[in-house]
Symmetry: C2
Subunit: 279 residues, 2 copies
């Protein structure tokens, strides 16, 4: 009999609870998804969403997720509180807070989030943002570049079609758009937490735009989910095409618009974030 | 001696408080900005932001605002609670809730919001989203069309360059993009609450895309502010160029990306929302 190890992403999402109905969960940061000075923001977003998805009062599936990175999460234990602020007939509004014990032992807020879930019904539909043209994933070289000590990058199979990390940091950048194929390095069927995490996997647009590395970090991310669980299941372990572009860089902050399509061309998620940068 | 009436938008933003430090404010819905079954969502967003801006512990200026419309606000009194969840050296994270007394008298959440404020410093900057070409505002005809009983539309001077409300509801739509000049009908110098409200003034993209009117309402909006108070003051009572486009319409929801530029071409705000629609 073989016992299968849980996927690293499922380990990162693992939440304990003493009273499920109260929506209070306990988690631990994952070394597998460690970033430079805290967990990869994508896993933090996924954990906030996961607390809602685990709540027994959940209505429907995720429509919108906003995560505000109030402070770096330190390695170790954290608590997640998910609260249904309002439940309607077919939509539900959630607030989420992640806290860690501070120096004094009192809980400090590291992350605030809001989630909208809804029961979706079949309607008319259309896409006004076509998938960009790209060669098949297999035709694009996989990269594993990333700063030393950044574990999370190794958890993804990334194949940049354009706008990869600059080969020379020579200040010569002239655009801020990245297009890449991506999926979990260790195959894992796509679900909402994975989509939430992948929406945050683009390196800082300011690095590309300036071909210069400056300190940068996401302050707030908002992701809209355009597909249901059945459509995500259809994608399975397939590649997603991700696109990210900066829009406005000014006085310490820039915004990034991002999209994720299935290989079949379905726009699964659109995401925006505002990012702090220095200098 | 003449006494000047406050601007209707300032009346809509008026908040009382019994204990400013506690961040609990009391407001009243404005008939001037009434929409079909509740206040114009832009004023609700502006009120949530205003509570943060009025709080004595405020650090810096708004960077990001997310407002979730959990339930329609009824005409009359409401309460706003603004809480600084985390204060860092140069950024601050806020949670906001708007409540109204329900049928039983107990407070019901109508709106949740998060706000990030920050002290901005001068840095390198660039725009990767150029202002679309448009004739001067004076060269574009002003429209005052809107469904009967929708007061808020009259509060804005709107001059659509393209993508105005369909003249014929004949199901013949083929795009979802609107471009228009806008400012307060009664002149009022631009500030952050006004920018938050104007980010929400585009009529539902699904109406344009289908040239069909279906029930629709914003569920969640996120606005990023790219300018400081001094830059907004420079705009003064000038026109803004607004652009809005739908991206994905599917199974009861669509998202809208929007931008607001000053007439001089500065990208002041980028905004995204997810909108419920029927059929």
């Amino acid at each position: 009999m073989t016992q299968q190890q849980p996927h690293p992403f499922d380990r990162a999402l693992a939440l304990d609870h003493s009273d499920l109905r109260a929506g209070l969960f306990a988690g631990t940061t994952s070394p597998d998804y460690w970033n430079m000075i805290g967990p990869f923001g994508g896993t933090t977003a996924a954990v906030a969403l996961q607390a809602v998805l685990r709540h027994p009062d959940l209505l429907g599936a995720p429509i919108a997720l906003t995560v505000n990175y109030a402070a770096a999460i330190e390695a170790g234990a954290f608590d997640v509180q998910a609260t249904p602020a309002r439940t309607n007939r077919s939509t539900q509004h959630w607030t989420v807070q992640i806290t860690q014990a501070g120096a004094s032992g009192a809980p400090q807020v590291t992350t605030t989030a809001t989630v909208v879930t809804a029961v979706r019904r079949e309607t008319w539909g259309a896409t006004d943002l076509a998938m960009p043209a790209a060669p098949a994933p297999q035709a694009v070289e996989r990269v594993t570049l990333g700063p030393a000590g950044v574990a999370w990058i190794g958890q993804y199979e990334m194949r940049p079609v354009g706008g990869g990390i600059p080969a020379r940091w020579d200040g010569g950048g002239d655009h801020s758009e990245t297009l890449l194929w991506v999926r979990d390095a260790l195959p894992r069927p796509l679900d909402f937490p994975a989509l939430a995490a992948m929406s945050d996997l683009f390196y800082p647009r300011v690095w590309l735009r300036r071909a210069t590395r400056v300190p940068a970090g996401t302050v707030s991310i908002t992701t809209y989910f355009h597909a249901g669980a059945a459509e995500l299941a259809e994608v399975g372990t397939g590649h997603l095409l991700g696109r990210a572009v900066g829009q406005q860089f000014r006085n310490g902050f820039f915004d990034q618009a991002a999209q994720l399509w299935s290989e079949a061309g379905t726009l699964l998620a659109t995401s925006n974030q505002i990012v702090y940068f220095k200098e």
